[in-house]
């Protein structure tokens, strides 16, 4: 087991920069998830750690050693692929032991390791089957087993769950977490699914356009996003962004959303934003769960406003409501019993204690 470090890692394909200088420190035993939209460079980064892609610039270290030019087999890593990449002509046991057999491990030890990994993953009964005879979830387990028996320094997962249906994905997600709790191997996991990232990771690395947008624990990313990209990417339904500006009305700082709607800022927020120029174009970032139905006993910092709903989506435990504020689409989450109806007027409450203010041009959260 080992820590992994990336120092100004760059990947260029001809004239396209897929990865534009990444710095990342992954501690021993840590479960790191690289998340971002397709084409953000997350898979390339993972493949560079694996040694499947050459790096154009910078250094990659595993356990303190620079491995830039070390071939994959000598990096002591194991990888789980999106399509599992199980050898179709080998049984489950042969698949799992292939790497060990190539390294001429003693037969008894190979058997012991395979048995142990199979037990851990609950695939002992399948050990003599061929991949063709397995379901998607079982193949996924075998692919993980193949990684586990090697007992590598680092596990690399490349979108391992995206070929599974939604239900199985949730189940395997928990399975992967359990396995990591048992074996405690340093893990780098790539996904485009922010839910997977939030649920699995010790720390999440959000990537966009070949750069790291933000690194942090799931809670940090959720509550303190650094940029508009992170704020919009993490959380579902996504955060609303409403154009707004600051204005001083009678000594208090107000947030003006539309001609009709303006809210006084809570004291803590007012102090934080007071230094901003009043002319600056800003975006209010507010998550749907902080836009709820209005009720009698509102906490301080929660302000109400009236609007007309466009569409409502009953989800059972909540109802999503969609409406517009000066053309900006907004989504809120209200109680299913609050009486929200398509096309009907409704009074909503916005919790400004959980608001974010962003610079519209730079996308930086202020």
């Amino acid at each position: 087991m080992a820590d992994v470090a990336l120092r100004k890692v760059v990947k260029r394909y001809d004239d396209v920069e897929a990865v534009r200088g990444i710095d990342l420190d992954i501690a021993d035993h840590e479960f790191i998830v690289l998340v971002g939209p397709s084409g953000c460079g997350k898979s390339t980064t993972l493949r560079m750690i694996a040694g499947l892609e050459d790096i154009s610039d910078g250094d990659i270290m595993i356990g303190g050693d620079i491995v830039n030019d070390v071939p994959p087999k000598d990096r002591d890593i194991a990888m789980v692929f999106q399509n599992y990449a199980l050898y179709p002509h080998m049984t489950v046991a042969e698949n799992m032991s292939f790497g060990l057999r190539l390294k001429h491990y003693p037969k008894a030890e190979i058997k012991a390791r395979v048995t142990e990994a199979a037990r851990l993953l609950d695939i002992t009964d399948l050990i003599d089957r061929k991949p063709k005879q397995l379901s998607g979830g079982q193949r996924q387990r075998v692919a993980m087993g193949r990684a586990i028996v090697r007992n590598p320094k680092v596990f690399l997962f490349d979108e391992p769950l995206s070929n599974l249906d939604a239900k199985l994905r949730v189940q395997m997600r928990i399975e992967i977490k359990k396995v990591h709790q048992k074996v405690r191997t340093t893990t780098v996991y790539v996904t485009h699914d922010q839910v997977e990232a939030m649920t699995l990771a010790d720390r999440v690395v959000v990537m966009n356009k070949g750069r790291i947008e933000q690194i942090g624990t799931p809670n940090e990313l959720y509550h303190k996003p650094a940029t508009r990209f992170v704020a919009g990417f993490i959380g579902s339904p996504a955060m609303n962004f409403i154009p707004c500006r600051l204005e001083d009305v009678g000594g208090t700082l107000q947030l003006r959303l539309t001609d009709r709607i303006a809210f006084p800022l809570p004291p803590a927020r007012a102090a934080r934003y007071n230094a901003l120029p009043r002319t600056e174009k800003l975006l209010l970032g507010i998550r749907p769960e902080h836009l709820t139905e209005s009720h009698a006993h509102l906490a301080p910092g929660v302000e109400t406003f009236d609007t007309v709903l466009d569409v409502t989506e009953p989800m059972g435990m909540e109802t999503l409501v969609y409406f517009g504020l000066d053309g900006a689409p907004v989504c809120g989450r209200v109680d299913p019993n609050a009486g929200a109806k398509d096309g009907a007027p409704m009074r909503l409450a916005m919790d400004l204690n959980n608001m974010h203010l962003l610079n519209e041009e730079t996308g930086v959260v202020l």
Partner: protein, 303 residues
């Protein structure tokens, strides 16, 4: 009244439906009729071979119904299978074909692996070149090759002409391009992640080839092997040009040059020889038909 109307409607619908299935039944009957006609056309020569091979010279010269054997005899088979000369042809053909299969596989499988998986300078050009080579027919090359072999013989003193083993060098020019081409197709269809997994598991390029690619692409390998064997077995022009002594001949040339000699009534033996010569490919075809056909269609469907 109303029930009557329904009754009327029922059968009339049935008739309509029935007429459609009757159309199909007729289409099927016509299909079978024409298939039988074509089967007769396609199978007449081989069946006629068999019929003639069972006749004695006397029966052939008697000009009885040529399509029927009145006094079946295996004498032609006995005579050929105890003739040293014929066995020699058979032996030469077998050795040449099997050795060419081996040489072909040793050349084309590694090359196909490199061309399918390792992008290197000129790899696309080479792959196209391989395909083009496959289109160059034997009848374009036999004269310069003949002269080249003669020159090599003059300069080095190594006898190549009129020796069966020269075919081991020449036949691969016919088999290797196509086998490489279809193996490129089979290898390219293996997902890229599979060799990456092998790479991470610690396999070298060679181990990836022998332990992953060859087993996974085994159907393609079998198809290529069958192709190489049948092409070598059937090749006629090169051995006709390069070998002349009776003990150096392979089957197709041996039968056509030694059995067709003046005596008209030797047809029994000629047909027997031809049938025995056609037997190995036919037997392979009978048992491995699906691979055989996969190899045939792979050239056009896998490129």
């Amino acid at each position: 009244m109303s029930t009557l109307a329904i009754d009327k409607a029922g059968p009339s619908r049935k008739v309509k439906y029935g007429s459609m299935s009757r159309d199909r039944a007729w289409a099927l009957r016509w299909s079978y009729f024409f298939l039988v006609l074509f089967a007769i056309f396609f199978l007449t020569p081989p069946i006629y071979m068999l019929v003639t091979s069972l006749k004695s010279s006397a029966e052939i010269s008697a000009a009885t119904n040529p399509w029927w054997v009145f006094h079946p005899t295996l004498s032609n088979y006995v005579e050929l299978l105890t003739s040293n000369q014929f066995l020699r042809f058979f032996w030469n053909s077998s050795i040449v074909s099997l050795a060419v299969v081996l040489v072909t596989m040793l050349i084309s499988v590694p090359a196909a692996f490199a061309l399918a998986r390792m992008k290197f300078w000129g790899s696309t050009t080479l792959a196209t070149g391989v395909f083009l080579t496959y289109l160059i027919p034997d009848s374009l090359l036999f004269i310069p090759l003949f002269k080249m072999l003669a020159l090599v013989q003059d300069y080095t003193g190594i006898t190549l002409l009129n020796r069966w083993y020269v075919l081991l060098f020449i036949y691969p020019t016919l088999t290797v391009p196509f086998c490489t081409w279809i193996m490129i197709g089979y290898f390219a269809s293996i997902p890229k992640e599979l060799d990456e997994a092998a790479l991470i598991d610690g396999a070298s390029w060679l181990q990836t080839l022998t332990r992953i690619f060859i087993p996974v692409a085994l159907p393609g390998l079998i198809a290529a092997t069958i192709f190489a064997f049948t092409v070598s077995w059937a090749q006629f022009l090169y051995p006709l040009v390069f070998t002349t002594s009776v003990d150096q001949l392979v089957l197709p040339v041996g039968i056509t040059t030694t059995l067709i000699k003046g005596d008209v009534f030797n047809w029994g033996q000629i047909m027997t020889g031809a049938l025995l010569g056609a037997a190995p490919p036919l037997i392979i075809y009978a048992f491995l038909m699906d691979y055989y056909i996969a190899g045939l269609t792979a050239g056009a469907t896998k490129g």
